[in-house]
């Protein structure tokens, strides 16, 4: 390992050049952009497509774009998607099987080459979410080879958080607003009297090489200080927080809590929270056959523990009641995830709060469980 390159400063032109260089090297660059009244993650042809000047207004069950009075590109918190949409896609072909006239069976792995991704603007909470999915899908005895392939080639450009939303609580989950590892490059957006620019830290050799290719200047102390202050201020402006207790222990002790009935009376078991959550990884499989009946394909798609079929075994589902399904979601996320994968399954991004059609708030549910436990 060589010592990482010194921090640098990029301006908007530099950021454009960075994206151009990534595109030129054959990468599919994914980043935030405004589409259909939301900031979505999509393929970017140029850094000019970033949501310059847009912010978001977030509340439980509520998401709205709003104009900012500056031109910041990364001053918005999590949108409806996360990077799992690309690394662990909604649908994925696993293998296909062909049956010949004499009854022989040939099984073939899906061989489509994974795109070489560059992710621009990965929030620290989402960096943590990627690390959590890495652990789930590639950290055990068996590896999810498709995920592994896509992940291995992905170039990550983090954007530290300077504008948390009203539904954010990464500080209490220990996953933000600053990024300290897991990136190739980390940007901190600075908008002050000295102008609009990005403080850049280098995480890997590959990051250093890319930075060297684009116009940049050495970091000055004012930019460094402004960047640090912006992130520190963000930590003080979290809209929400989790109770400062061992959530794993609280979940373990709450299996018979009354609160589950209360939340089950509101929950529609629509599964939105699991779809938007950047760590939720559950999938099911489908068998698809063509008209000849001699070609079959095995597909994997996202599944949700809120779906009644999720726990189906011969004789019926194990988790029939909404009560048991909400409990499964929450106790897995905050409790048994530790037993299974040595970490929490929540990074405090707030997506599940925003995209719940009835505004169920994970932090509020946990607080209620804690109050009940103390009674």
């Amino acid at each position: 390992m060589t010592t990482p390159a010194a921090p640098a400063v990029l301006d908007r032109t530099g950021l454009n050049a960075l994206v151009e260089a990534l595109v030129a090297s054959g990468r599919t660059v994914i980043g935030p952009t405004v589409r259909d009244a939301a900031i979505v993650l999509a393929e970017l042809g140029s850094a000019e497509e970033l949501p310059y000047g847009w912010g978001v207004e977030l509340e439980a069950g509520h998401y709205r774009l709003r104009r900012r009075n500056d031109e910041a590109a990364f001053a918005h918190s999590a949108g409806p998607q996360s990077w799992k949409n690309f690394l662990h896609p909604q649908r994925e072909k696993l293998w296909s099987a062909d049956r010949s006239a004499d009854g022989q069976l040939t099984v073939q792995a899906e061989s489509a080459a994974a795109p070489s991704y560059a992710f621009l603007g990965v929030r620290p909470c989402d960096l943590r979410a990627i690390a959590i999915q890495d652990r789930v899908l590639t950290g055990g005895h068996f590896k999810d080879s498709g995920y592994q392939e896509r992940r291995k080639g992905a170039f990550l450009i983090a954007a530290e958080c300077t504008e948390p939303g009203a539904t954010c609580f990464c500080v209490s989950m220990g996953s933000g607003p600053g990024a300290d590892a897991g990136f190739d490059l980390a940007l901190t957006e600075v908008v002050d009297q000295a102008g609009h620019r990005f403080f850049v830290r280098v995480g890997t050799e590959e990051g250093a090489e890319l930075l060297a290719e684009v116009p940049h200047r050495a970091a000055d102390s004012t930019t460094r200080e402004s960047a640090r202050t912006a992130v520190a201020d963000a930590a003080d402006r979290m809209g929400r927080s989790m109770p400062p207790v061992s959530l794993q222990r609280l979940m373990g002790a709450s299996l018979e809590a009354d609160r589950w009935d209360d939340v089950a009376a509101r929950c529609l078991t629509c599964g939105n929270c699991t779809m938007v959550c950047p760590t939720c990884f559950c999938t099911t499989t489908e068998e698809v056959t063509d008209l000849t009946g001699d070609h079959a394909e095995r597909w994997q798609r996202w599944d949700s523990c809120f779906d009644l079929d999720f726990s189906h075994i011969h004789g019926g589902p194990v988790r029939k009641s909404p009560h048991s399904r909400y409990r499964q979601w929450l106790t897995h996320k905050l409790g048994t995830w530790h037993d299974q994968f040595d970490s929490s399954g929540c990074v405090g991004c707030g997506r599940c709060i925003v995209w719940c059609p009835v505004g169920i708030d994970i932090t509020e549910e946990v607080s209620a469980l804690q109050e009940e436990a103390e009674r």
């Binding site: 009854g103 040939t106 726990s311 988790r319």
Partner: protein, 268 residues
């Protein structure tokens, strides 16, 4: 998902009951690595899908034996497989019974219905290595005589005690009647030096474990095999969770000390 299912040809098909068959499968090309009793394979019926099925026989020649009850689309597809047909399997997955950890103990094998299938290779190992263990007891329960599997074999196992009981006897049944736990009083074992291996429907597992605890078996000496929905068997799909466990990885065989607190939470 990593492993691809590996083609196996059905070389023998034995009909156990009206809905259950035992298939002997020979690898068409490469073989899977060796299975241990208690482990399972994901069995693929072409065009239907994959389901978890325990190994019910481990012949020395690398063939695999599986006993399948046709209850739904995929398992019915497996049930329908005829000699010469090709299925595909991946595995082995999950924890085994770990018979060797019971060295010197009396063995108590308790099976409900098709639950005997995953226990069958364990019984074979116990018989082959009889000196290593104390008394072998095999207790089998089924709903009716027509639901009993491995019938030709059961009487031939050299055990200290073999009991077979049915809930609903039909005409001509002269054996035991009632739930399988009623046989526990007839089995020959010293509770403080016994290991039990239990597989069957969940209510039967609970009743058996409760009775055994009562008779003085420590909970961790009661091994049970549990069933949950499984899509991948590689610990990635999330379906087989039972509290902190991923049953494809941490099970299906677990000690009652671990299983009991989980099974007593409704709908966990």
């Amino acid at each position: 998902m990593t492993a691809l299912p590996v083609p196996h040809r059905v070389v023998d098909r034995h009909r156990e009951t009206h809905d259950t068959v035992t298939l002997r499968l020979k690898p068409v090309g490469e073989a899977l690595s060796a299975f241990a009793p208690g482990q399972f394979a994901m069995m693929y019926a072409f065009g239907r899908g994959e389901v978890p099925i325990s190994v019910s026989g481990i012949p020395r020649d690398g063939d695999l034996v599986h006993t399948v009850r046709g209850v739904g689309a995929v398992s019915a597809g497996l049930y329908d497989a005829q000699v010469g047909d090709v299925l595909a399997l991946r595995g082995p997955y999950g924890t085994g019974w770990e018979l060797s950890a019971a060295t010197g103990h009396d063995l108590l094998v308790v099976a409900g219905g098709i639950g005997l299938a995953p226990l069958r290779p364990l019984i074979h190992d116990a018989v082959l290595d009889a000196e290593a263990y104390g008394r072998l007891n095999v207790l089998i329960g089924a709903r009716g005589p027509a639901e009993l599997i491995c019938r030709a074999e059961t009487g031939r196992w050299p055990t200290a005690y073999t009991g077979v009981t049915v809930d609903r006897p039909g005409d001509g049944w002269t054996g035991q009647i009632g739930v399988v736990t009623r046989l526990l009083g007839l089995a020959r074992f010293e509770p403080t030096a016994t290991t039990a291996f239990v597989c069957g429907p969940e209510p039967m597992i609970r009743a058996t474990a409760r009775d055994l605890l009562h008779r003085g078996l420590p909970a961790d000496r009661i091994k049970v095999s549990l069933e949950r929905n499984m899509r991948c068997a590689t610990g990635h799909c999330g379906h087989c969770q039972l509290g902190p466990l991923l049953l494809c990885r941490d099970g299906p065989v677990v000690g009652w000390d671990i299983a009991e607190p989980l099974l007593y939470v409704r709908e966990l």
